[in-house]
């Protein structure tokens, strides 16, 4: 037994623990974000925000899946103009707020980033990976040239750390990761393209037909992405996909992640998950003799 610390760093962003709320889950309302930070999350990523207000898709926007969930919220968001209030409320917690943005062009990404920065976010996460909205997300994020241009432009325009969130729905995620090499960290992974059909209704459940699969089902896919990218590049990585327990978080950290994000587990475990992860991870580290998160990063990777 020794004293262990949960602290970790991603680029210049200092975190009290490695557990961050993932984008799109309980992060549209400032009061909710504030509550989740108070529950123990080291930081929250906001819902992905675009230039204009979007209603997203008509419900049903979620469908069940084995050990997971399929969603097609459709990038519902109030538009960057209206989002400052929510960030201000969330920042009342004095913990980092990471602003997620989505767009279809370099210019829009830059525009959004500049405005997010004015709202005093602590980092900006680029959603290059939403799998279910035409013209955004993974359509942008599967083109290495476009990814490179967006990341490079943002690094020129805004001083806060830039995180690039990538899609697993590509033949080779390494190509995209390398294209985003100027980002301060990569966020791996977003959801996996998926469908659910109701055999009695005889049609897809989601009003948008397609959605993104999240939850434990995709954990082995997320781990593969983190492992691959870490082994080949050594980049800063934030792991996300199917994390429900501290063991899942450790698996991602040993595959190379310096922090992790939690999304769908809010459904299965509720907001209290952050407190549980923190105390269970600390116990694990003390029992196994790790003094810091850094001691564990990438140690599961076979060179």
């Amino acid at each position: 037994m020794k004293d262990s610390s949960l602290k970790t760093e991603i680029a210049s962003l200092k975190l009290e623990n490695p557990h961050i709320l993932a984008s799109g889950i309980l992060d549209e309302n400032g009061y909710t974000m504030k509550k989740i930070l108070e529950e123990g999350a080291a930081a929250v990523v906001t819902k992905s925000i675009g230039m204009d207000e979007r209603n997203g898709y008509q419900a049903p926007v979620i469908a069940d899946a084995p050990a997971g969930l399929i969603n097609a919220i459709g990038l519902a968001n109030p538009g960057i103009e209206s989002f400052g209030d929510e960030i201000a409320i969330a920042k009342g917690s004095n913990r980092p707020v990471i602003g997620s943005i989505f767009a279809s062009t370099v210019e829009e990404f830059a525009n959004l980033a500049i405005r997010m920065q004015k709202y005093r976010v602590d980092a900006i996460e680029l959603n290059l990976s939403c799998p279910h909205v035409k013209g955004f997300g993974s359509e942008v994020g599967s083109d290495p040239d476009l990814v490179e241009q967006i990341v490079n432009e943002l690094k020129l325009k805004v001083p806060v750390p830039i995180f690039a969130k990538l899609t697993p729905n590509v033949t080779n995620i390494l190509d995209i990761a390398k294209a985003a090499h100027k980002a301060d960290a990569l966020v791996l992974i977003n959801t996996v393209r998926a469908i659910r059909i109701d055999i009695h209704a005889r049609m897809p459940v989601l009003s948008n037909i397609y959605g993104g699969l999240s939850g434990p089902a995709i954990k082995p896919i997320g781990l593969r992405a983190v492992y691959d990218v870490y082994r080949e590049t050594g980049f800063n990585i934030i792991g996300v996909g199917g994390i429900e327990t501290h063991e899942d978080a450790v698996e991602y950290i040993m595959a190379g992640a310096r922090a992790v994000q939690i999304g769908t587990a809010l459904m299965t475990k509720g907001r209290k998950i952050f407190g549980e992860l923190n105390s269970n991870l600390l116990q694990f580290m003390e029992r196994e003799g790790y003094s810091s998160i850094d001691d564990m990063v990438g140690i599961g990777v076979v060179k």
Binding site: K34, K35, G56, Q58, I62, D64, M267, G270
Partner: protein, 247 residues
């Protein structure tokens, strides 16, 4: 997705119908399901009848509720749930305060001795009032076409709230907020079932949140002391897009 067949329907008011179906599940008063009409939409709906035979009582608001009312006995319904924290039941005298279709979620609480304060826009829209005995019923209508003319508060003023062991209320947020302020002034406890936009129903999308709580999961039923700390209650809500607006 759970499926069941509609057994029968009962028209309750010009806009409200009760739809009965068989579903073998233990539901508690105040819980709800998300009902899906394939090709139309999915909306939250309280289970108004929780015995062996289940039912919901739906008001025709817009496309999805209209599509539900358009279904016939024998048709299939699709839903998921039950969701939500139910009303906490107590022994003793209870007061039920329902505004409009809000009576639907209170319906399972009605018993021989319960007292009802039923509010509606007008006479035609009064819901479930016939399930209370005459001496245990007060009606208010906005237009005065039956009972007391005015809103729920006008009705509340006629009642000695202190004689009840628990007060239950459900209806539009403005009504609930005013009732809440009144209860606070009088100093009585109550359970209020709220409504917000709901997309997921399972506590992840944030569209139903109120002061950091998810209505679909932490609620829809909240106690007075919980409402106290919810900065947004009666004040702000987010629209379908997530935009903050005044209530």
């Amino acid at each position: 997705m759970i499926t069941a067949f509609i057994k029968r329907k009962e028209r309750k008011t010009p806009t409200v119908e009760t739809i009965y179906f068989e579903w073998d599940s233990g539901i508690l008063p105040g819980q709800f399901v998300m009902i899906w009409v394939p090709g139309v939409g999915e909306i939250p709906m309280s289970i108004s009848h929780i015995g062996r035979e289940k039912a919901f009582t739906v008001k025709n608001y817009g496309p999805t509720s209209a599509a539900i009312q358009a279904l016939s006995p024998g048709d299939r319904i699709f839903f998921r749930g039950p969701y939500g924290r139910p009303f906490q039941t107590v022994s003793g005298r209870i007061l039920l305060i329902g505004g409009g279709s809000g009576m639907a979620s209170l319906h399972p609480l009605i018993n021989n001795s319960s007292f009802g304060l039923v509010a509606a826009r007008s006479k035609e829209e009064i819901l479930f009032a016939d399930e209370f005995t005459d001496e245990n019923l007060i009606i208010t209508t906005d237009d005065g076409s039956e009972g007391i003319k005015g809103n729920v508060i006008e009705g509340l003023k006629k009642i000695d709230l202190k004689k009840f062991d628990m007060i239950y209320a459900c209806g539009p947020e403005v009504m609930l907020y005013n009732a809440y302020l009144y209860f606070r002034k009088i100093g009585v406890n109550a359970q209020l079932s709220l409504e917000r936009t709901m997309k997921c129903g399972i506590g992840i999308c944030d569209s139903c949140s109120i002061g950091g709580f998810q209505l679909c999961r932490d609620g829809p039923v909240f106690f007075m002391n919980e409402l106290e700390e919810m900065q947004e209650f009666g004040n702000f809500k987010l629209t379908y897009s997530g935009k903050r607006v005044k209530i």
